[in-house]
Structures are given as structure tokens and as C-alpha cells.
Amino acid sequence: MTASPVSRKPLTFRINLAYFILVPASLIALLPFAWMILSSFKTLKEIRQIPPTFVPQEFTLDNYIKVLDDPDLPLGIFYRNSAIIAFANVIQVLFTSSLFGYIFAKFEFKGKRVLFWFILSLMMIPHQMTMIPGYLILARLGLINNLLGLIIPAAVDAFGIFLFRQFAQSIPNELLDAARVDGAGEFYIYRRIVLPQLGPALATFGMLTFMFNWNAYLWPLIVLTEKNVRTLPIILTWFSNQQVDKTNLTMAASVLVILPVLFVFLLVQKWIVEGITFSGLKG
């Protein structure tokens, strides 16, 4: 079906209206970021003055130099540790979430409902309650101050299973059955048919998981106390004592923490654009 000329008008009208809303909305969304980035270039004095300035009057790179050059902060090691944990967890979580999401969507077995609601309810538990026993287990296994301590327990993500179940439901059963009839094994089906269908979901959730692991602050700090295994977010509060707050340094640190996540996001973003819609068969 080709678009007839009469359909052009509502299209352009719609587009103009969209921009009319989107542009101001984007500015609002970006404003705090702008504030944060600009603040990272300000001196401590300027950060604290009343009334505040938006654009730095006295532009300085000192904050970044301070963060990057601080002898107490081996940033390279922190970046490495964060990357290891993040990548490992992304891979295993994508695997378990897509696999079990698919299973919950397309298979029946005894206790499925119960198991599913159990997994769902895991998302609602405040983490403070499981901190101590979780830590106890890690200690018993000798995994404190070891990156594996943050990787092994993180293999299953309730939210992921939930999400992938949702997306997997729209995979046409005929596709799966046809493969089975042709003699394909279940894992083969999962790998060759289900996974490609879940493309955008994998990219999206993979990125979210990356970000979540990258930004994780409290738990890594408690489990990894030695400097050479610590992760990056520690630099976010490194420059504030109990009450002393050096916002300009903290903002510079925040920028340094966000950059890799931003990078990953931009990579993945293209993938979603070129990607396959999860409905699989068009038209």
C-alpha cells in the first residue's frame, strides 16, 4: 500500500506538533545534566556562591585533573574492575533472562505459576534485609574482596525474566513448532530462532543491566573493601566527608562514571534502530 497524497498532510502536521513538544521537553530533560557538566568545570568557590551561576565564570579543568591524578585513586584499576563485573553480569543475565523468559512464555510445567510469582516477588524485597545473610554466604565461600563475589550471585535477574517473558510471548508458535518438526533440538531452537527474535530486547536489557552494574554503589563497597578490587562509583563520594561536600569534584567524578555507560548506550542505540522488530514477521 502506497501512501496517497492525502496522507501527507496529517503527517507533516503531526511532525511539526511533535517537535513543538519534544524540543522543550528535551531541554528540560537535559538541563540538570547541563548543570552537572558545567558544575564540573567550576571552582569550589563558584559552586558555593549566592546567587548561583549557570555557565562557569571561571572555567577550570582542575577538578578533572584532581580526580584523574589523585594518587589514592587508581582509576585504571577501578575502571577495569567495574568493566569485568559489568560484562560478566550482562552476559549471564542476558542468557538466563532470555532463556527462562522464553521458557515461562512458551512452556507449561508443574509449579510454573508458583515459580513465576516467586520470581516476580523477588523484585519487591528491600535489599537491606538480605544484605547480611548474603554477605555471610560470600564470606563462608571466601568470596569477600573477590570480584567473583559480585558475579556469581548475580546470574539471575527477576526483572529480566519478567521482561523477556513478555517479549517472548509474541514469538509465533508456528515458527517454533516448524523447527521441532524439522528435528531441531530445544537449545538449538533457543539459540537460532528465539534469540534473534529477541534482538531489540537483548540490546535494551543488556544495556540496562550494564548500567545497573556499572553504577552499583553500596553493595560493591561493602563486599570489596581492598583498594585493588574496588569499583568505579567509589569516586562519587570520595570527595565528600560526612558533611563536607565538594560538589564540583563530585560532578566531575560523576561525568567520569557516566562516560562509559553513555558510550555503551550509543553503541546499542544504533542496534535498536537497525534492529528487527520483535514481532518478527512483518505485515
Partner: protein, 330 residues
């Protein structure tokens, strides 16, 4: 169906059964074992806490229970029903916590959906090239670490150095010194302004999630339907109301449930921006739990509150699901 095909299908269904069983056994059992170890055990321990007077600073008996951490049975739960003004501070804060958290979630879910769904729709409706830019912009806040976000917004709301007051001051022509986050006497329609401030900060950071979910879902609407509607002369409003919303209902429900669950879990932002103030107006449950678990040595009480909070969230999501049950599977 020919004989050959019949045999093939028969063989297929028989084989399928055992292949399927093997597959399920091979995947579900490891999952169950894994979760029993890493999730169920800590969970049971956390629940058991609620029946003790526990502090991590005390050494206890088996698994930390007993001895210094005495068994108190249902006492923590009984205390929760103490509504008198002389009730211990933690009970009073618990009641406040429930009210504030429910209020917060009730504000967040509709506001979030009202912002993200139309926004996703608008983004999907424009030129492919520019689409990516807008998508990135609105998703950026999600990428920022919570600590940074909270400090940023705390800064914006600062009474003397904040962006908000500076902008208002420009318009008013004089210095504005409203303490958005600290003045307990500021309320709008009975809701504390400080809570609104947290809502704004949280929405800002959180909208990216639902945006992506809705965009992915919108991409899944078959092009044919969209074209048909356009040919029929539907304008964008009708497109939205008659086509997008009904088709996306399961996704909307998903987003609503997930947003609700995470709204209940708000913590980082509140702790850094207001720490429960002013005057307990933003004392959300998780903050309450954290304070009593780690600052004030009442981890048993905190565990009891956690259980209540969990039951609350669970029942709300059950209700949400039931209400739109027919559209859950599509």
C-alpha cells in the same frame, strides 16, 4: 494429510514430549537450585529476623539468632498496631512511612505513564534520523548514578544557590529564597512540596525506562495497521487513542506494575536529597528500614517493616494484574 506426514507428526509429538521434558529438567532444576541457595536462604533469614530483637553489633547464637539477639515472637508486628501518640518513635515513623510511600507511588505511576507513553509515541512518529537523538536525550537521565542525580537535584532546589530559585528570582525581579526541600509548612493540596520535589527528581531519572519499553513495543505494531489507519484519515490523536493504547495495553500494564514496584523501592534519591525530612514528610519506607536496620540497631523491627512492605507491594501488583487480567496475555 498423507501417511508419511502423519507418521512424521506422530513421531514428532512423541519425541517432542521427552525432548521437551529433558530441556525443562535441564534448565529449571539448576535455576531452582541456584535460587534456593542465593535467594531463598537469605530471604528466609531476613524473614526470621522479624521475630527477633536483632542488631548486627550483638553476637548471637545459631546464624546470629538467640543469645544477644533475643527472640520476641510477634512483638514487632503487634507494635505496628499501636496508633497512640505515645507509641515509640519507630512505630510512628512506620505509619508515616506507609502513608508517604503509598502517596509517592500513587503520584509516580500515573505521572510517569502520562509522560512516557505520549513521549514514546511522539518520538516514534518523527523522522528516523532525528528519532535517535531524542531517544538518547530522554534516556540519558537513566544512565546517571543515583548519587549524582540526587546531588544535582538537591542543588537545583537549593534555597539560595539553586537553579529553580534563581530562575524564579529572574522573573520576580528579586531574590527568592524558598526552601523547597526543607520547609515543612509548604504543601499543595495537602501534599508536601518536598515530596513533589522528590517526585520530579525521580520522574526525571526514571522515565527513560518506560520510554524504551514503549518505543520497543510501538515498533512492534505492524506497519500495515498504521498505514491502514492513516489511509482512513485518522489524525494523530485518534491514532493514539484508538490504535496505540489498546494494542499496547499489555505493555502499559507491565510498565505500570514495574513502575509501581520500583517507586516503592525509592531510596537513594530520598536519602541524599532530604533524608526523610522535613519533619518526616518524605520518610519513605525503605529509608525507614535502612535507618532502623543500620543506624539505630533495630534490625528485627526493620525486617518486620520489610515484610509488611513486601506484602503491600505484592498485593497491589496482584490487584493491578487482576484489574486488567484479560489484556495480560495477548
Amino acid at each position: 494429510m498423507t501417511n508419511a506426514t502423519q507418521t512424521r507428526w506422530r513421531r514428532f509429538f512423541r519425541g517432542r514430549d521427552s525432548a521437551e521434558k529433558q530441556f525443562l529438567a535441564g534448565t529449571i532444576s539448576p535455576l531452582v537450585f541456584y535460587m534456593a541457595f542465593w535467594t531463598v536462604f537469605p530471604l528466609l533469614w531476613g524473614i526470621a529476623l522479624a521475630f527477633f530483637n536483632y542488631s548486627p553489633r550483638q553476637t548471637g547464637g545459631f546464624l546470629g539468632f538467640g543469645e544477644g539477639n533475643e527472640f520476641v515472637g510477634l512483638q514487632n508486628f503487634q507494635n505496628m498496631f499501636n496508633f497512640s501518640p505515645e507509641a515509640p518513635l519507630e512505630v510512628q515513623q512506620f505509619h508515616i512511612g506507609i502513608r508517604v510511600t503509598l502517596l509517592f507511588a500513587a503520584l509516580i505511576v500515573p505521572l510517569n505513564l502520562l509522560i512516557t507513553l505520549p513521549l514514546a509515541f511522539l518520538i516514534e512518529s518523527i523522522n528516523d534520523k532525528v528519532k535517535g537523538i531524542f531517544r538518547t536525550i530522554f534516556f540519558l537521565p537513566v544512565l546517571a548514578p543515583s548519587v549524582g542525580v540526587a546531588i544535582m537535584w538537591g542543588f537545583i532546589f537549593h534555597p539560595q544557590r539553586g537553579l529553580l530559585n534563581a530562575v524564579l528570582g529572574e522573573f520576580a525581579g528579586k531574590l527568592i529564597g524558598i526552601a523547597w526541600l526543607r520547609d515543612s509548612s509548604l504543601t499543595v493540596w495537602g501534599i508536601p512540596v518536598a515530596l513533589f520535589a522528590i517526585v520530579v527528581a525521580y520522574l526525571w531519572q526514571d522515565m527513560g525506562y518506560n520510554l524504551i519499553i514503549f518505543i520497543a513495543a510501538l515498533q512492534g505494531i505492524p506497519q500495515g495497521i498504521k498505514d491502514a489507519a492513516r489511509i482512513d484519515g485518522a489524525n494523530w490523536l485518534q491514532m493514539f487513542a484508538r490504535i496505540v493504547v489498546p494494542l499496547l495495553m499489555p505493555t502499559i500494564l507491565l510498565a505500570a506494575v514495574l513502575t509501581m514496584i520500583s517507586a516503592f523501592q525509592v531510596f537513594d534519591i530520598v536519602q541524599v536529597m532530604t533524608d526523610g525530612g522535613p519533619d518526616d514528610q518524605t520518610q519513605v519506607l525503605l529509608l525507614n528500614i535502612y535507618s532502623y536496620a543500620f543506624r539505630y540497631q533495630k534490625m528485627g523491627w526493620a525486617a518486620a517493616v520489610s515484610i509488611v512492605m513486601f506484602l503491600l507491594v505484592f498485593s497491589i501488583s496482584l490487584v493491578q494484574t487482576r484489574l486488567l487480567r484479560t489484556e495480560w496475555e495477548y
